[in-house]
Each structure stands twice: as C-alpha cells, then as structure tokens.
Amino acid sequence: MTTYYGLYGQKVQYLASDPTDVQIGQVWYNSTSATLKVRQESTVNAWASGGNLNTARNDVAGAGTQTAALGFSGYGPATSSASEAYNGTSWTNTPSLNTARLAAGGMGTQTAAIIAGGENAGYTTQTESWNGSSWTALSSPSNLGNPRAQVAACGIQTSALLFGGTKTTPGETFTEKWNGSAWASTGSLNTGRRDLAGTGTQTAALAFGGAGYDSATESFNGTSWTSVNSMNTARRGLGGGGTQTSAIGFGGSTGSVTAATELWNGTSWTNNPTGLGTARTGVSQNFGTQSSSLAAGGSPVTAATEEWNTILISNKTVTVS
C-alpha cells in the first residue's frame, strides 16, 4: 500500500494545534479537531452576519463602505425617517431625516451623503443633505425634476446620478445628475424600469435588474446609457455595490425572494456559488465595493445585516472517505 511516508520520505506531523510556520502544501494532523489539514492559499467570496439594524425595515437607502456606512429611510411597517451609522460591527442611531420616505436614492459617504426621491404619501422630489451630524432639507432648485421612488443612485454628495424609478409601470428611463446643488436631466436608460440596482460614479455608472423581473444591464459614460450583458438571474428589489467595471448584485425577487449573488467584471456577470444567508428583496443598495459590500434590511421586513468579503483561505481540512 502506498503511504505518505513512502511518497514523501517523512511522516505526517501529529499536532495538538495548527502550526504557525508552515509552507504551502505542508500536511499535518490536528489531534484536537481530529482533522487532516493541508496549507493552501486561495480566495473565497462569502457572506457573513453583521450587526443587526436598530430599526428593521426594507428599502433602506445607503451610502459609504462596509466599515463606515450610513443607512437611512425605509419601510417597516411604516415609512421611516430613521438614519443609522455602521462601523463594521454594529449600527448606531443618528439624527433622523426631515422627511420619512422609502425606496429613495442614497449617495455619498458616511459623513457626506444625500438622499433624493422616494415615497411618502406620494412620490417626492425632495433632496436632503447629511454632513455627518444632521440632515438638512434642501429647497428648489435642489428638487428632482421627476418625482419617483424605487430608483437607483450612485456617486458622491457633490457629484451623483439617479436613474430609473416609477410613476408608471414598468418604470421610467429618466436619468438625472447632481452637481452638489441642483439636478439636471441627462441621457435616458434604454430600458425603463423601477426597483433596479445601480453603482459607480456620475460619469461611469452601472444599472442592473429591476421590475418586472429584469436582467438588463446598462453602462453609463457620463452622457448616455449602453446595453451590455445581462444578469444571469432576472430579478427586482436587488442590492448592489462596487464600480462600473467591478460590481456585485445580490438578493431581490424573482417572484419569490432570492439569495443569489452575482459578480460583474466589466463584461459579464458570474454566479457566486453561495448566496446571502437570508434571502430577501428590497435590500439596501450602494454600500462598498465588489470585494467588500453590505446588505442591510429587506423584505420580509428584517433587521439582518450581512457582510460580503473576499477572504483568504489558508488551512484546508482534507476530507477522506
């Protein structure tokens, strides 16, 4: 019978704990966990639980990164003005919006954000600005040109883009750009839709998914939208993050809620082998990057937050039968 000793001229180490100084390819037996292990290095994309929102709700608008995020507005089970900050571990309540709303567009960072549009007893055009301490309701000419909810948005507090949304079914093609003080119309989406996801910047944006159960993806160059390769799973109410050339789309509804997660490489979408821990629609948008994103809240109404990361797997358990 072939043995490890026969093949490699040495025995497998029998250790109470994983060694700290090991070479790639080194094999050992961990007597505490009763597992045979090998040192390898590979990356895996995976979701993990994060701190729960203080106010459970769906359709939260978002801004910032996985470790410095701001989640605001939403519904659960009333239109919400709640605003919360996430530090990578837990959410902390911050001063509320002036106008409660849901399904609005959120843009910016944890300390410099804006919210525009949304639903509050009718679609609103109002824009509010966050300076890290409080929300300020802006007046004309800071209002959106077209009142609507279930929009997608991206960019920063002084240079943003808001697109799609609804006053009608299946949704609008309207795209508006923000210069820090006013909204102006720009090139329209090719496919009108609402409940879509978006990411990127004002001059390099990506729109994907939407109602009804759409897989269409479009790329914006600062002037016009171009149709590109579609998502693998058509859906609405999904979340997204990243850039125009490196994005993530997750969750949503295909008729029933889905946990499916897809990655965009600038050309095409690829299914990730594993999805969200809790399938949901109406999930937050616009947090982080393709390798470090955040899903907060959703419908059925939940406070659950999940963190998406690309992680390094170093020690692998060897399964034998």
Binding site: S49, G51, N52, N58, D59, L102, A149, S256, G277
Partner: protein, 98 residues
C-alpha cells in the same frame, strides 16, 4: 442535496462568519429556522456554536408556516393604500423547505 434544519436566534456579527460560509451554505427562513447541508461536519459544528436546536424537516416547516401565516394575516389587515408598492412589496408567500 440533503439538508438538516435547526432553530437559532441570529445575534448579529459572528453568527455566520465568512469562514462558515466558505465551507457550507447556511440559508435562513422565518422563525429563526436555518437550513444547512446534511452530513457536513463543519455545519454540525456551526449549529453547536450558535446553540442551535436541531429540528426535523416537518418541525422546521411547521415553524416557517406559522410565521408566514402570521405575516400574511398582518398584511391582509393593512389598509388598501398600504398594500400598494412600494410600501409593501408583496403579500408574504408560502415557503416550502427543500
């Protein structure tokens, strides 16, 4: 694929880690029901870590059904105006565990 079920309350950060998710898929359902692959040592260790209580598929389905029924009743009791999108996305639908 064959699955097992448990009930455990998600406490937030650390409940499911990236390391857990890299080894097996955990899927959450209403009523704090979690589905994990059967015959997976790492999944069994995770249930132990989160102090989960194993349930049969029938027991897990019953828990989910109770939650969905309650959610549907709450949705049905809403004023018509609040049943419209985007406020409420859809009436909660039945979930059949695999």
């Amino acid at each position: 694929m064959a699955y097992k079920y448990c009930v455990a309350e998600c406490w937030g950060k650390g409940f499911i880690t990236h390391s857990d998710s890299s080894k097996f898929q955990v899927s959450g359902f209403p009523g704090n029901v979690w589905q994990i692959p059967a015959d997976n040592q790492d999944a069994n260790l995770w249930v132990n870590k989160v102090a989960g209580t194993f349930k049969t598929k029938a027991e897990a389905q019953a828990i989910v059904d109770v939650e969905i029924t309650a959610a549907q009743a709450a949705w049905d009791a809403l004023p018509d105006a609040q049943k419209q999108e985007p406020m409420n996305r859809q009436r909660p639908t039945a979930i059949v565990l695999e």
